[in-house]
Each structure stands twice: as structure tokens, then as C-alpha cells.
Amino acid sequence: MNSSSNLINALFIFALAGFIGFEVIRRVSPLLHTPLMSLTNALDAIAVVGAIVLVGMHESRLSTIFGFIAVVAATSNIVGGFFITDRMLKMFKSSRPAANPADKSVTK
């Protein structure tokens, strides 16, 4: 596959993912905006895959060093991000045990 068709594919993916992101995030309850941000932070650290390849392939000393630091930084975001999001979400409790999750977003 040549690079310009790769590029077009990538742009399609970016545009569609942007739309999905917009529609999905718009529906997130404002209650959960802080855990949302720590969760997207953890997901964003998927950039670690690029860094892992750099470290694993050892193509140059510089790329290995940069990649190593990048893996450390991203991993700390993955671990810390999921961990703190989970801690926060555990704290959200309803006063009515038989919870009514949908009514807030649907009724108004």
C-alpha cells in the first residue's frame, strides 16, 4: 500500500473517531467528569506501544534512550490513571440501593 492511501485511511479514522468521541463524551454525566479525565489520560497512554517498539528495536542509542523514558512515563500514566479512576468510582454511591441510573439523562 502506498503512503498517500495510508494517509487518507488515517484521516478517515481520525475524523470518525473524533465524532464517536464527541458523541460518547457528550453523554458522560457531569458527576463523573474528573474520573473521565483520569480515564482518558490512562487510555491516551496507549502511546506506550510506539515507545515499546523504539526500545525493543534498538535502532539507535538515542531512540532507545528516548523510548525508555517514554515507556516509563506512559506506564506510570496507565497504572496511576486506572488506579485512581477506580478509587474515585468506588466512592460514588447512591442513596437508593436499587439504583436508577438512567432517569437523570432521559427525563429532561
Binding site: A17, G21, I25, M37, A42, L43, I46, T75
Partner: protein, 460 residues
């Protein structure tokens, strides 16, 4: 494509789907924890798939993963009041990863880089670089290592513009001549300097907008990295994160009554010099904890309006005891949450949830504002500007037009406050001089504690 490559791509595809579900499940607190599992499984699959690549040596990767975990665990254990600075710090880490990978890719591929690729790579490292230092500055301000006060100087916007223009000129040069390796570090340095200068003029009150915006930048730079590496999973994750940051910054800028272009150009947080002179001698009515307790226990409907001052005073657990004591007496107690009540989007909800206040009692501004006229008591704890009726009526007020909680429309307003000093933005609040307002002077935690004692509550 070899079979192995296909397998890796399929794993990335599954991870992408799981990431989208992860965010979708965040729509409600009842499903949100599924979202974490989906995200974690997706992450494990993606990293696992990446490790399958041929020709990899694993020992350094393993060391880096372990080191990252060692750093990550304490970052996941910070106090809930420190979540905003933790979040800012993690934006910096994420952007650092992206910037380093982008730089490494440049040096590996240069001069054999197509024009398009070099443009995206420049975008990646410029956005990444400014997010690294910008987020570190924001974290420093939130942690109060750096002064929260906005630092402004003459020609600030011009300096910022010239810097950014410099980075763009270098980027264009590199696009045309990708072999000019010596220019690349300057582009990074300018981006790093720009990030510092971008956050310097921003005051503590604007941090919710800033964090959201940096979140968006971090996402966009990761998406750009996806283009450079032709990695679809990265493009998708970056686009999701970018749109999340963008939406949150729009919500925050609306809640602070700033236009979105205003936010984009970083011109927020200018020093607002308000004329606080002259009228200090206006009469206010104050009340003791006994009187406040009597009024609260006679009420049918109470709305508590918490602000960041409540969290600073560590009063949220006392507020929970007040909630319990009043609920036991049959009083309907709810909490009115302004979008910028905390130091980042949704922060106040987390602080109250930590104090075991049920989340269905936390009502956002638009939903609760219509209920104030039927409310017997609005109890304002550590909130100021978000209750200032001048934002509705006084066109000369610096916060005119900002959406507020209409506490002044309830039958009685009680405000717990240390003294009559104006709040964070230095704006006088006419709410305090209304006939239906009672000032409760004192420390939020101590005062709520005495009300609870009067109500015969105590713990449980």
C-alpha cells in the same frame, strides 16, 4: 502483511472497540466501573500485541514497565483534593512520551521523511512539548509550589505569538528540508518555552479550563503520533482524548463565561481589577450556630452550595454529618454543584462522594436552579463568585454573564465565611447584604461541626 502483523492489527482493533465502550460506560455511575475493566483489558491486549513484534529485545522494555509501575502506583494513591495536580502531572507525562517518541522517529528517519509526515511530526512534537511544560506549570500552580496569581507583563501576547511563529517557521523549514537535523532541537525548545509562557498569565481560578485544554492538546499530539507511526489505535485513542478535552474545555469556558476563542488563544485569566472601594460599611446580618441549627431543622427543603473553600477547610466530612442529621429529621437536603466548583471539571462531586454523600443528591446547576424559589434554606459553604447575583444583573461586574446558582431566590440564604473579605476573584458579593441572607462567620469545618452538635447529631 504477514499473519503476525494481521494478528497484531486485530488486537489493536479489539482494543479500540474496548476503549470506546470504556468511555461509553462512563455515562452513568452504575456502569462506570465496567469502563475501567474495558479500558484495562484493551490496554493489556494492545501492549501484548506490540510485544509480539518480531526482532524485539525485551529486557529494557521490562525494566521500563516496572519503573513506570513503581512511579504510577503512588500517583494513583494521592488524596482526592490533590487529583487536579495529579491530573496535570499525568498530562505532562503523556505529552513527554509523545514528544520523545516523535523526536526519536525524526532522528531515525531524517532526511527520508515525506512532507506530510514531517508536518504531522512537527505538530506532534510542538503540541507535545508545550503540553509538557504547560502541564508542569499548571501542576505547580495547583500544588501551590508556584504562585497562583496570574503573572502578566506588557507585550505578553506579542512575545507568545513571536515564539509560536518561530516554531512554525522551523517546522516549515524542516518540512521542505527534512535533512536539517540541527534545527529540530530548537523547535522543541521553543515549544517547551511556549508552554511555560502560556500558563504564566493564568490564575488559579481558571485551572479547570486550563487542565481541560491541556488534556485536549495531549490527545491531539497522541493522534498526530498515530499518523506518524501509521498506528490506527493511537489515532483513535488520541481522537477520543482530544475530543474529551475539547468538550470539557467548552463546558468549563461556558461556566466561566469566556468565549471559546478566548480560551484557545490562552488569553484567559487576565487580572480583573474591580473597584472594591467605598462600600465596606453596608450592614450584614449574622447568626450563631444555634440560630442556624434552629432554622435548618425547621426547614423542609435545604440546598447546600459547596465551593472549593469547603474542601480547603476539609469540611466535607462535617457536611456529611450535617446531611445525615438533617435527613434523619425528615429535611430534604440536596447539593447544588456549579461546573467550576472545584479545581477541575467534576472535582466537587468526587470530594463529596469521598465523604459518602450519595451521588443522586448532587445536582448540577442547570437542573437545580429552578428549585431555589421553593427552597427554605440555601446553605453556602466556601463558595463565593458562583453565587454572586451581580453576574445576572450588574453589567459593570467583571463576572457579568457568568452562569450562577440562584441561591438569592431561596427563602433564607446562609453563608459560612471566615470574614467579609472578597473571594478568589476579588469581587464584592451583593448576596451578603440581602435581607434574606444570614452570615455565619467562622471556619467552615468548625461552624458546620457546631451546627451538627446543636442538632444533636454527632456521627452517624
Amino acid at each position: 502483511m504477514t499473519a503476525l502483523q494481521v494478528a497484531i492489527e486485530l488486537l489493536y482493533l479489539i482494543a479500540s472497540v474496548l476503549f470506546i465502550f470504556s468511555l461509553k460506560w462512563m455515562s452513568s455511575p452504575t456502569t462506570a466501573r465496567h469502563g475501567i475493566w474495558a479500558g484495562e483489558i484493551g490496554m493489556v491486549l494492545a501492549i501484548g500485541g506490540t510485544l509480539l513484534n518480531r526482532g524485539m529485545s525485551y529486557h529494557l522494555i521490562a525494566i521500563a514497565l516496572v519503573l513506570g509501575t513503581i512511579i504510577g502506583v503512588p500517583l494513583g494513591r494521592v488524596a482526592m483534593t490533590a487529583v487536579p495536580q495529579r491530573t496535570a502531572l499525568s498530562h505532562a507525562f503523556g505529552a513527554l512520551c509523545v514528544t520523545l517518541v516523535g523526536s526519536a522517529e525524526f532522528y531515525l528517519r531524517s532526511p527520508d521523511i515525506s512532507r506530510f509526515m514531517m508536518s504531522v511530526l512537527s505538530l506532534e512534537v510542538i503540541l507535545g512539548g508545550l503540553t509538557v511544560t504547560g502541564s508542569l506549570m499548571a501542576a505547580g500552580k495547583l500544588q501551590e509550589i508556584l504562585p497562583q496569581r496570574p503573572l502578566t507583563y506588557k507585550g505578553q501576547n506579542l512575545v507568545n505569538f513571536v515564539l509560536l511563529a518561530g516554531a512554525v517557521v522551523i517546522a516549515i523549514t524542516l518540512v521542505l528540508h527534512p535533512g536539517e537535523r540541527s534545527l529540530f532541537p530548537f523547535m522543541i525548545l521553543i515549544a517547551l518555552a511556549f508552554g511555560v509562557l502560556l500558563i504564566i498569565p493564568i490564575g488559579g481560578a481558571d485551572m479547570p479550563t486550563v487542565i481541560s485544554l491541556l488534556n485536549g492538546y495531549a490527545g491531539l499530539s497522541a493522534a498526530a503520533m498515530g499518523f506518524v507511526l501509521n498506528n490506527k489505535l493511537l489515532i483513535i485513542a488520541g481522537a477520543l482524548d482530544g475530543s474529551s478535552g475539547l468538550i470539557l474545555s467548552i463546558i468549563m469556558s461556558k461556566a466561566m463565561n469566556r468565549s471559546f476563542t478566548n480560551v484557545l488563544f490562552g488569553a484567559f485569566g487576565q487580572v480583573q481589577t474591580s473597584a472594591a472601594a467605598g462600600e465596606e460599611a453596608k450592614p450584614v446580618r449574622s447568626a450563631t450556630p444555634e440560630e442556624a441549627a434552629a432554622i435548618l431543622s425547621a426547614a423542609n427543603r435545604v440546598i447546600v452550595v459547596p465551593g472549593y473553600g469547603m474542601a480547603v477547610a476539609q469540611a466535607q466530612h462535617k457536611v456529611r454529618e450535617l446531611y445525615d442529621a438533617l435527613t434523619k429529621r425528615g429535611v430534604d437536603v440536596r447539593f447544588a454543584i456549579h461546573p467550576v466548583a472545584g479545581r477541575m471539571p467534576g472535582h466537587m462531586n468526587v470530594l463529596l462522594a469521598e465523604a459518602d454523600i450519595p451521588y443522586d443528591r448532587l445536582i448540577e446547576m442547570d437542573e437545580i436552579n429552578g428549585d431555589f424559589p421553593q427552597t427554605d434554606v440555601a446553605l453556602v459553604i466556601g463558595a463565593n463568585d458562583v453565587t454572586n447575583p451581580a453576574a445576572r444583573s450588574d453589567t459593570t461586574s467583571p463576572i457579568y454573564g457568568m452562569p450562577i446558582l440562584d441561591v438569592d431566590k431561596s427563602h433564607t440564604v446562609m453563608v459560612i465565611k471566615r470574614s467579609m473579605n472578597p473571594g478568589f476573584a476579588g469581587i464584592d458579593n451583593p448576596l451578603y447584604y440581602l435581607d434574606n441572607t444570614l452570615m455565619l462567620f467562622g471556619d467552615a469545618k468548625a461552624f458546620v461541626g457546631s451546627i451538627v452538635r446543636e442538632l444533636g447529631g454527632g456521627h452517624g
